[in-house]
């Protein structure tokens, strides 16, 4: 005799909500990818404007990630390891760019980079221009991407027992030596994940960039321009290519950053 197990209604609620969420995210994306004809995609791939904008998107997001890596790593380490007065405040400040509406970010950056601001005047004297430049795009992308890098890497540092660093110090290694021989080898994966997070955030930014630099055109701005000027059909191929390139990059980095399970198991 087969004994039927009674399944709790909550199970069905969970199944329903899971499939709804997955469908909600995947359905529009899949539809968008399959709607343009092969010919449209081929034409878009040959369009130098499209190629330039996608490259610019990747380049500026990558620059923002590199800058975040350089200045965000020591900062994340400090947040993970040291207690100091006002630490909570500093942590909240880091999260601010996540909360602020994107066009506001662009306006805020322009506000200090313009001729009416002393900082803008100094920057112009040394030849740094924000309005309508790659520098400007990288600046806003770093602004919005940095919190993602810092928070990811901070969590990565926190996961490393401080005792490992203590032992290293007691064996004669300086703070710097300890960082490069113990902390970094154990934290580089989280740094890579932080870079991916920062890139992903930066590459999807539109609102802040469009204020600071309509030209040169990053891919989201180009997609928006094609949509408003020519309609949905003309913006889709560019969007598909941007998605394809991003996914390829992120999968690559993700594979590199995954721990090598099989090797660890064999020991």
């Amino acid at each position: 005799m087969i004994i039927k197990k009674k399944i709790d209604p909550f199970f069905w609620i969970a199944v329903f909500s899971t499939s709804t969420v997955v469908a909600f995210i995947l359905f529009p994306l899949v539809e968008m990818v399959v709607q343009p004809s092969f010919q449209d995609l081929k034409d878009a791939a040959k369009d130098p404007d499209v190629l330039r904008s996608i490259w610019l998107s990747i380049y500026t997001a990558g620059m923002a990630a590199i800058i975040s890596f350089i200045i965000g790593t020591p900062f994340a380490y400090l947040l993970a390891r040291k207690e100091f007065p006002g630490k909570k405040l500093v942590e909240s400040i880091v999260d601010l760019p996540i909360m602020i509406p994107h066009p506001v970010v662009g306006i805020a950056i322009l506000g200090i980079a313009g001729q009416n601001h002393w900082l803008g005047q100094i920057m112009q004297q040394v030849g740094i221009h924000i309005m309508g430049t790659v520098t400007g795009i990288v600046t806003v992308l770093t602004f919005v991407g940095l919190p993602f890098y810092v928070n990811t890497v901070k969590a990565g540092f926190e996961a490393i027992p401080v005792r490992l660093e203590n032992v290293s110090r007691s064996l004669g290694a300086s703070l710097t030596g300890t960082f490069f021989r113990v902390t970094f080898p154990l934290a580089w994966r989280s740094m890579l994940v932080g870079i991916i997070m920062c890139c992903a955030r930066a590459i999807s930014e539109f609102g802040a960039v469009v204020i600071v630099a309509y030209h040169p055109m990053i891919a989201p701005v180009m997609i928006y321009e094609r949509f408003t000027a020519y309609g949905l059909k003309y913006s889709q191929p560019v969007a598909v290519w941007l998605i394809v390139v991003c996914l390829a990059l992120f999968f690559l980095l993700r594979i590199v950053s995954l721990p090598k399970e099989s090797k660890a198991k064999r020991g």
């Binding site: 027992p161 005792r163 032992v167 110090r169 007691s170 660890a264 020991g267």
Partner: protein
């Protein structure tokens, strides 16, 4: 020699204070106390890992109070081994060598000798992930000793180990200490460990040192009620003194000697309290008539609570003793204590 003068550490909700200590070169010194007493803080202050609020620390006459940990020449071994997970056994052990100016041949020989002594030579190329707890602790010891530190700090090195490994590593520690000139400082909450390994001990409770002395002295002659309880004297009572007599509540007791610097307590080990049906004691015994309140089976022995007047004594009886006198709760008994077994402080 290690000298600690008025060490003070303030943390939110906890203060370690008045830590004054002298530890001889080559000594095996233990810090004993319950969890949260602040023992590990003392070690971490000596290692230079945590900032201190006040006081000074000297090692061999050198003031190390403000030196960074890498300049202190002090090794550390943790309860959870703290091995570098990304390095092999040998890489872990040789980690510190490059920071110590020594003939590479000589230090290579020392590492080899250490690994042989600790029985981990065969593990050299292994990854540390699949070592047993005992092997990990041996590697951790080898790593700390490879750079030949003048002081080795051991933070509950046996606590995370299975009982059979614990005895094994305990032996290893004892042998290593005998063979090396390094001063060993160990934190533990286990009196038996301190008894087996340590020469002198400091009992720490609530951020203060309660007593410093040889382990057997502390065991036999505790100087505070906390230490008395900690070393297993389950009968600790405040007392009033009158010439050669001692009054605990309204019980009069004969004691062997009355120290002049007493604080006003008596303490008796539960195994020194005899409980019998009949009066079969010599004249020199303190004998009280009482009633059994409670008998608890503690495995190898039974714990008896017996009351006389307002005083409750705790005694230990073996199974056969218990059987012989046929003890049960509410039974009337004679409680006897030898004057020499009553510790006055």
């Amino acid at each position: 020699m290690i000298n600690i003068e008025s060490l003070r550490i303030e943390l939110p909700g906890f203060t370690l204070q008045d830590i004054n200590l002298s530890i001889e070169d080559g000594e095996f010194f233990t810090f004993l106390g319950p969890t949260g007493a602040g023992k590990t803080l003392v070690l971490e202050a000596i290692a230079g890992i945590i900032p201190i609020t006040g006081g000074r620390i000297f090692v061999k006459g050198r003031d190390i109070t403000h030196l960074p940990p890498d300049k202190r020449d002090i090794g550390i071994v943790y309860q959870d081994y703290a091995l570098f997970p990304h390095l092999s056994v040998l890489e872990n052990i040789t980690y510190g060598l490059r920071y110590h100016k020594a003939d590479p041949q000589e230090s290579g020989k020392r590492v080899e000798k250490l690994m042989v002594q600790l029985g981990i030579k065969a593990l050299a190329q292994r990854s540390i992930q699949h070592l047993s707890g005992g092997e990990k602790q041996r590697v951790s010891l080898a790593r700390a000793l490879a750079v030949n530190p003048s002081v080795l700090l051991l933070d509950e090195p046996l606590s995370a180990l299975d009982p059979n490994f614990r005895e094994e590593i305990r032996e290893v520690l004892k042998k290593l200490h005998k063979r090396l000139e390094t001063t060993f400082l160990m934190v533990t909450h286990d009196f038996a460990e301190a008894m087996f390994l340590g020469e002198r001990t400091a009992i720490i409770n609530r951020g203060k040192i309660e007593q410093i002395g040889s382990v057997s002295e502390v065991f036999k002659k505790p100087s505070t009620p906390f230490v008395a309880e900690f070393v297993g004297m389950k009968n600790v009572f405040p007392a009033v003194f009158n010439d050669t007599k001692v009054l605990v509540d309204d019980l009069e007791m004969q004691v062997e000697s009355l120290p002049s610097d007493r604080k006003g307590y008596v303490a008796i080990r539960p195994e020194d309290i005899m409980i019998k049906n009949k009066m079969t004691f010599g004249n020199d015994f303190n004998v009280f008539k009482g009633k059994v309140l409670d008998v608890t089976n503690r495995g190898p022995y039974h714990e008896i609570s017996a009351r006389t007047g307002r005083v409750i004594f705790k005694a230990m009886l073996s199974k056969s003793d218990l059987f012989e006198i046929g003890l049960s709760e509410t039974k009337r008994v004679n409680i006897a204590i030898r004057p020499s077994d009553i510790h006055v402080f």
